[in-house]
């Protein structure tokens, strides 16, 4: 596993952008990593675009604010337009294909669209979209253990929502399966 993962997650407010990053950061802490989670804040959080930079590292993190990324999880078109060029060559750009009609055409990065919104409908809860994306991301970049993500969710979610833990696990698994399905599609 590599020592440093610099990730940006971006989309509309309400899509679960910040909580996706926070869950990953929390799992990173459980795995004993250095972490930093930097949200965009202010008027953007009230329905506009939202993004957060999440960094996981085996050593002390210098800048929590960075301009290029190892990976990007993109949930809407404006964020695709803004961040696609800022993924480092050889990096990963994972996007929610139902919300994005014009993905990047870069050939020097790994691009993959996941129909997470459609998949979330299968789970009968469209709020699981972000966890499906997280599951897909971790299938491609196993920077933290899935069990650590589950532990993080158990610690972050108040008791009264613990009945949703199993749904979240299903969402993570569905994300991982979606990646394998996309890979097969690409090969054929």
């Amino acid at each position: 596993m590599k020592q440093l993962e610099e990730l940006v997650i971006a989309g509309f407010g309400g899509q679960g952008v910040l909580s996706l990053g926070m869950t990953l950061a929390y799992a990173g802490m459980i795995d004993g990593k250095e972490i930093s989670w930097m949200p965009s804040y202010g008027p953007e959080m009230r329905g506009g675009t939202a993004n957060c930079i999440t960094i996981l590292s085996d050593t002390r993190i210098s800048s929590p604010i960075i301009s290029t990324f190892d990976s990007a999880i993109i949930l809407n078109q404006p964020s695709m337009d803004k961040f696609a060029e800022r993924v480092k060559p050889g990096g990963l750009l994972l996007y929610e294909s139902g919300n994005i009609f014009k993905p990047s055409t870069r050939t020097d990065i790994q691009l993959m669209g996941i129909p997470a919104t459609t998949e979330a409908v299968r789970l009968k809860n469209n709020k699981t979209m972000n966890m499906i994306m997280l599951g897909a991301y971790l299938q491609l970049r196993p920077v933290v253990k899935i069990e650590s993500v589950m532990q993080a969710l158990a610690e972050v979610l108040p008791e009264k929502y613990h009945h949703l833990l199993d749904l979240n696990r299903q969402a993570l698994e569905l994300g991982a399966i979606s990646v394998e399905f996309q890979r097969e599609l690409i090969q054929t």
Binding site: M22, M29, I35, W37, M38, Y41, I61, S63, P64, I65
Partner: protein, 355 residues
């Protein structure tokens, strides 16, 4: 027992306040520091401490005056426009030598400005935004961990010197999440026999005032304060150095800027440019001596600040013209990238080695 949590800077600061034995918090909400008030309003009553949302920042700071005068560990927090409103009260606190902790989660200004991070309040914090001849001890956290640690340090320094202490943070450090390890709960032990707690027959009357109407007495008080500020200059300078041993060029930055500058330094070093970083942790007292020493070693210094050039003046005063000192800044809530700073460094090295 020490506990490690994932928290926002503002929340870590609030939790640390409880653990450091803060008795009373007075504040008024303002972005980007409202989490401090929110967290304390939720948690302080469980510890039988006081939290009061005042009608304004002017009221908060004067409530701090009252609580500190009665011998309690008192604090307030705000962000730039709110902190400006407190300046008269801060001058009175300094004049009356009242220990307290004041937090400014700096946003971009002037005026109402914007809620994004800034470092435009450096002058206000270090040179005194209020009237009269006073100094505040100013701490500049650069991580969520330091947001917590500086609360303990700040309260202790305030008690030790009977002086207000400011934590000058910024919107990004306040809003970002990192790991933070908390020290155990602490019971303050400072002697507060000067406090106005009701006069028993056994001692003389205690009085707290910043009024010295006779010039002779006022000057004596000024001299006493000056002597105290000099003692603080002697004993309380704190800073961090990275890669200064072999540095040809020095970055100087505090708070969030220091974190970004450190990444810029790494980028420059990867290209073979010998760059070091000095990060002041106390902005008053300022690490003047160390900068003066480094001025005999490096060929130049660059301060990196989220303002139009404030700390750069203190760096220039410190090096006394020995080396050129430049400034690079972004403002208005815009933040420089590590690459942006690295380009500034390259420009310097190109010039330096052109001939």
């Amino acid at each position: 027992m020490n506990v490690t949590k994932l928290m926002k800077g503002n929340e870590a600061l609030a939790e640390a306040a409880i653990r450091a034995g803060c008795d009373a918090y007075f504040g008024y909400p303002i972005t980007p520091q409202s989490e401090v008030l929110e967290y304390l309003a939720r948690e302080m009553p469980r510890h039988n401490r006081i939290v009061l949302q005042a009608e304004s920042e002017v009221a908060s700071i004067n409530m701090v005056y009252g609580a500190a005068g009665a011998g309690f560990r008192a604090m307030t927090s705000s962000s730039s426009p709110g902190f400006s409103l407190m300046q008269e009260g801060i001058s009175y606190l300094a004049g009356a030598e009242l220990p307290c902790l004041l937090v400014n989660v700096n946003r971009a200004g002037p005026g109402l400005g914007t809620i994004q991070p800034g470092q435009g309040d450096y002058f206000q914090a270090t040179k005194g935004g209020g009237h009269g001849d006073y100094r505040l001890i100013v701490l500049a956290p650069a991580s969520v961990q330091e947001m917590a640690d500086h609360v303990f340090l700040g309260f202790d320094l305030a008690d030790q010197y009977r002086n207000p202490v400011v934590i000058l943070s910024d919107g990004a450090i306040g809003q970002m999440m990192e790991k933070v390890t908390f020290k155990p709960y602490q019971k303050p032990t400072a002697d507060k026999s000067w406090a106005t707690t009701g006069k028993p027959a056994s001692r003389k009357r205690n009085a707290i005032s910043s009024l010295f109407i006779q010039p002779e007495r006022m000057e004596q008080h000024n001299l006493k304060l000056t002597e105290k500020f000099n003692r603080i200059r002697e004993s309380e300078i704190r800073f961090e150095e990275v890669n200064t041993n072999d540095a040809d060029y020095l970055l100087v930055a505090y708070g969030l800027s220091a974190r970004i500058a450190q990444k810029a330094m790494d980028l420059a070093r990867a290209k073979g440019l010998r760059v070091g970083l000095l990060r002041p942790i106390t902005l008053f007292p300022f690490p003047e001596k160390r900068l003066r020493e480094l001025a005999t070693q490096v060929q130049g210094m660059l301060t990196v600040e989220l303002n139009s050039g404030q700390m750069v003046e203190d760096v220039r005063l410190a090096v006394e013209g020995r080396v050129p000192v430049a400034h690079y800044g972004r403002m208005g809530g815009m933040i420089f990238t590590p690459e942006e700073i690295e380009r500034q460094l390259e420009t310097f090295f190109e010039k330096a080695y052109a001939n």
